[in-house]
Symmetry: C2
Subunit: 362 residues, 2 copies
């Protein structure tokens, strides 16, 4: 594994990044304390985000580098998390493929992609042409941040499911119907999604993102057999492209993965992001000793009382330790995005509890 010595961007504090517990944990190296960040840490639960959103709509925020940069920085300033994640959305590459997206706030696509003609019409988007604002936001952030910046994208299956459904879904019936009835067409769609997503993530890394995260939020709706066929190979394709571009740690968030976690181990990531529906210690045993893990507190725990939050943090920190009692390779996080009705004080309590309870216990 490469040393986590990420070259600093112009203007960034190189020491801060070099000493990053977050990057060290991703590469399973000793840390001073367990690093922590929060999925969707920049978002609606923060009053400063809501204030900014009163003046700018969601897409404008994503597409304006200065706004995306400011929103990305908000939770870093407030909470003292160990990593920043670019404010963006997994569906931002879709217009580059030829499908417009509206956020109402749930995403609604201009059209669903279901026929061979629909798939044929999709472009593989080169992110340098279609999302220059994302790369510009990354460059701005590298001049501001003293913690590593995580770039991200949606995994191909998850992005394809939005394209097929034309938005969100509960049963993913249309997606599965396409996969099962026309597997060749599905694979063609997945290749186009993978190459578009890879371009998006690679260009974020080239612009300076020090870690790359792939969100496979919906692949857990598949049976293990079908996960292996329709989700895993395309996620691997993206992560391999990132690996060829830069030696940054790659984090693969596997939603609802308890039924096929061993399969996820082969995705080509350094870190597997876990949801809260599985025990983190058991998950580590299933993933094997080579991988780091990220997770996995139920976001709803932050709606509960402070003493309970501390207790659950302690339990997860304990569970993530190896049989030798060492806390190598654990990035603390929620098991899914923070809920909008979370009190910011409870997010703060989480971050502080992780730092305090893990300090001096490498």
């Amino acid at each position: 594994l490469p040393e986590p010595t990420i070259a600093a961007a112009p203007g960034a504090a190189p020491g801060a990044v070099f000493e990053s517990d977050f990057l060290r944990a991703c590469f399973r190296r000793p840390v001073t304390r367990t690093p922590v960040w929060i999925m969707r840490q920049a978002g609606r639960y923060l009053p400063e985000y809501r204030a900014l959103r009163e003046r700018h709509d969601f897409l404008t925020c994503c597409r304006t580098p200065e706004l995306a940069c400011e929103i990305t920085l908000q939770p870093v300033r407030r909470l003292g998390v160990d990593a920043a994640i670019l404010f963006s959305d997994i569906l931002l590459p879709l217009p580059g493929m030829g499908v417009e997206v509206a956020f109402e706030p749930a995403p609604r696509l201009a059209r669903a992609v279901r026929s061979a003609a629909d798939v044929d019409a999709l472009r593989v988007a080169d992110a340098r042409e279609t999302q220059p604002f994302v790369q510009e936001a990354v460059r701005l952030l590298r001049c501001e941040l003293k913690v590593p910046l995580i770039g991200f994208a949606g995994a191909p299956f998850t992005v394809a499911s939005y394209l097929i459904e034309g938005g969100g879904s509960r049963t993913f019936s249309a997606t599965k119907q396409l996969l099962f009835s026309e597997p060749a067409l599905a694979h063609w769609l997945l290749v186009k999604c993978a190459d578009t997503v890879a371009s998006s993530l690679v260009e974020q890394v080239r612009a300076g993102a020090q870690a790359a995260m792939l969100f496979d939020t919906w692949s857990g709706v598949l049976a293990p057999e079908e996960y292996r066929e329709f989700a895993l190979p395309y996620a691997r394709r993206v992560l391999e492209a990132v690996g060829r571009a830069r030696a940054v740690p790659r984090i693969y968030y596997a939603g609802e993965s308890a039924g096929h976690l061993e399969v996820c181990a082969g995705v080509g990531a350094e870190v597997i992001g876990l949801d809260w529906r599985q025990d983190i210690g058991e998950a580590r045993r299933r993933l094997g000793p080579a991988l780091a893990v990220q997770g996995n507190l139920d976001p709803a725990e932050l709606l509960g009382p402070p003493d309970r939050i501390r207790r659950r943090v302690a339990e997860i920190l304990g569970g993530a330790r190896g049989p030798d009692g060492r806390a190598l390779g654990h990035v603390f996080n929620l098991g899914h995005g923070v809920l909008p009705d979370t009190k910011p004080e409870h997010a703060q309590l989480l971050v502080d509890a992780v730092h305090e309870l893990s300090a001096g216990r490498p």
Copy 2:
């Protein structure tokens, strides 16, 4: 384990029930072929059900024994499944607790139960008083059916989550907030739900249902730790009450359980119902040799082509066999309810494929 020799109700064909492959599979005894039924086999995907629903609303169908009986029989006549399941709904006991429910078609409760006063006001319903129509439907069905009748109820956590949310939910935030912030109140609510549900299920069994199924559809939204605290003990309480009433097989449907399946093994059921998000062979290994399993084809597979359905049926039949190659203790089913846009011919194809591919291979 008791012999699966269920006394026949007046008018029923005793031999048919005695020879039931379904009951034999539940008790892990040799079968002539793998039995199969389909969750929500009586429902919207059947034209004869839709025709009947044009004249009667959903609740009227549930509460009128002759209608519930007719709807229960529809898929048995059409498909040749190995078991019938009473047409009813897991929320039917709620009015007896003091909370009316409307189906629009998603369930909406007259009020949400969140405060101590709300929980205090809930009654523990005696199903003999509050749901006599259910027991009457069971008695009618026992005179008509030549296959075993499954009675069912919602598991306490799942029922409680509807009460707390006031309907369905995606994140179960209100439920979890109550559990985490006021665990004593949550336990009080769960006891009331458990005793109400137990009465409903026990009275179905006393009226003649030859198997009892408990649907814990939503308990998979909990982390394993919290599943152990808030879901498992109450499901066990219900299943123990059923066991004291009659020696019928008890089936526990554990939705999204791949992260805590070993825990489910202790629920006190003879059969664990699996969703499709886990490999059935792996699930059997985790559950141990004493339990039968039910499942676990993705309902969306029935939207796909016939040859694929047959292939997936064969794979699941193969996966469910033990290391000795024997198919003991497997009831074939979907991993969740059949989707409303399923073609009835594909449900037929499923039933026929299970029977044909498993015949003569005990």
